[in-house]
């Protein structure tokens, strides 16, 4: 798929760049720190490879930005040409928050009346009622999984999940290849040492 190979390329470039930036800042890191940095770089690279087209990427970036020390990294990764994109990101996040708040208010006001309505019918079609609860619970879980999912309705949540799955796949593939490559490299290095 040419979309995923393009994404692969973009992601790899940005990830490598991010790693370079990361390691230039600190000299010694223990394993856990390194792991966190690697993962962070990978996430941000993935999100920025999307160029702020999807809302989960926007959410990822904004979350990463909340941490001050990551901000430089994020800025560098995003690139100077995407300053306006950052504005867009900020605006979108604000609108998302507003949407979330207003949705919560709406839900609260409607929930009571809905509960009154619901009391009657569900007794007769219990199966449907249970099914609805199941679906609702699962959408909640999915909302928590997909970054930025809380402020989305069901339909766009599924769309975002789709996109997120694709990107995650790309990420996993690239990381796996790199890990394998370095593993083999280390093996060959050690074998060379012994020769």
């Amino acid at each position: 798929m040419h979309t995923s190979s393009k994404l692969t390329k973009e992601f790899t470039k940005k990830w490598v760049k991010g790693l370079q930036i990361c390691c230039s800042s600190k000299k010694d890191m223990d394993v856990l720190e390194r792991k966190k940095k690697i993962k962070l770089c990978a996430d941000i690279a993935l999100a920025s490879a999307k160029n702020a087209t999807t809302s989960w990427s926007i959410a990822l970036i904004s979350e990463a930005k909340k941490n001050d020390e990551n901000e430089i990294l994020v800025d560098n990764l995003l690139g100077p040409e995407s300053r306006f994109k950052q504005q867009k990101i900020i605006r979108q996040m604000n609108s998302c928050h507003k949407r979330v708040r207003s949705k919560k208010i709406l839900k609260k006001s409607c929930s009571i009346s809905q509960r009154m309505k619901k009391m009657g019918p569900p007794k007769s079609n219990l199966a449907a009622y249970i099914a609805k609860r199941l679906v609702k619970k699962r959408t909640q879980v999915l909302q928590r999984l997909v970054p930025g999912g809380e402020s989305m309705d069901e339909f766009s949540l599924i769309k975002e999940a789709l996109d997120y799955i694709l990107s995650l796949r790309v990420q996993v593939d690239v990381m796996r290849n790199l890990a394998n490559a370095t593993e083999v490299l280390n093996q060959s290095n050690s074998s060379n040492v012994f020769d």
Binding site: T12, L19, C23, K35, S124, A131, V135, D173, A181, T182
Partner: protein, 332 residues
């Protein structure tokens, strides 16, 4: 009545109704049916239902643009099943027997499940027991006929929404492995959740692995590039070669000619397992369907490979620059 503007249309056909309000409603339904029939004749005969459902629904929001204003007024009224069956007809516009179906309350199977049925039940006081059937994909949707649905525009909008959701679910089914047998919305969501969780855990695990493999973060690329620069036949998979290897292996699978291919073959020494992982992962990638996103997969892909193979040689220049820069740091 507020519905008056619609009844001025020329509406031939039966008007089998009981009350005054029903007449106008039914006439409107008739008109819509005719209009839709004209729209769809020759387009969807024998086509996949899904498309029918999609395109059927789309023109409607434009038509019923004014409806929300009207429908507010009739929330309190007990609108009979005719209103509901109006939604029915959107699916089976080409069938004429619907008119008989209209007046009866038939229990029917829904296409995508439970998630649909309870939404209706929440709004209506339905007489029959709803069958929450996990419908296997059928040629056309049978929709439950219900009494006393609150507003037509709401239900129509809901139907639109549900159609969209089921369409997305189809994509997801193709994307998530092992989902072909599951047709329920809840089950699908379950699978999706599991898959996303497993992918995220894989990312965590791989980043941990990378962290343990490297003494320092920058080691990832430098040594790999060095190897690649000097073309040591033993290994030499750098990140960018990882990229090119991707394309190469994919092109190998597609029997394409690639100049980097030769270099790859030269550089493959001992490790035979790596190409396998590449192949596996690229197979994995290839098996992604890309239903509407990529038109002609193979042609596009081949073209893309040709293009990108020409741009790959430019990358080494970039990386050598970086390598030299960081090399200085290492020496310091």
């Amino acid at each position: 009545m507020q519905h008056c503007p619609y009844t001025t249309m020329n509406i031939p056909g039966n008007t089998v109704v009981t009350s005054g309000t029903d007449v106008s409603v039914f006439e409107r339904q008739q008109a819509r049916m005719k209009w839709q029939q004209q729209q769809q004749e020759g387009l969807f005969n024998g086509n996949d239902h899904q498309f029918r459902g999609l395109v059927e629904v789309k023109p409607d929001p434009g038509l019923q643009y004014g409806w929300p204003d009207f429908s507010d007024g009739c929330q309190g009224q007990a609108i009979p099943s005719l209103m509901e069956d109006h939604n029915l007809k959107k699916r089976k516009a080409h069938e004429d027997q619907k008119q008989k179906v209209v007046l009866k309350e038939n229990s029917v199977k829904e296409k995508k499940i439970k998630g649909c049925s309870e939404e209706n039940s929440a709004e209506t006081s339905s007489k029959e027991k709803p069958k929450a059937v996990e419908g296997p994909k059928q040629e056309y949707i049978h929709v439950r006929a219900r009494r006393g649905q609150a507003t037509d525009s709401h239900s129509l909008a809901e139907r639109v929404r549900r159609e969209k959701i089921s369409e997305r679910m189809k994509y997801l089914q193709d994307l998530v492995p092992g989902c072909n047998k599951i047709t329920g919305k809840a089950g699908m969501l379950d699978e999706i959740i599991n898959y996303v969780q497993s992918l995220q855990k894989q990312v965590e695990f791989l980043s941990m692995k990378l962290a343990t493999l490297q003494p320092r973060l920058d080691f990832d690329i430098d040594s790999l590039i060095m190897k690649e620069m000097f073309e040591v036949p033993a290994v030499a998979y750098s990140a960018e070669v990882a990229n090119s290897a991707y394309f190469q292996v994919n092109s190998l699978l597609e029997m394409g000619n690639n100049p980097i291919d030769a270099m790859l073959r030269r550089s493959i020494g001992g490790p035979v397992s790596i190409p396998e992982t590449f192949v596996v992962s690229s197979c994995f990638n290839q098996m992604q369907p890309g239903v509407t996103w990529d038109g002609d997969l193979h042609n596009l892909y081949r073209m893309e490979i040709q293009q990108e193979s020409s741009t790959i040689p430019f990358q080494p220049h970039k990386f050598t620059g970086l390598y030299e820069g960081s090399n200085l740091k290492m020496e310091l």
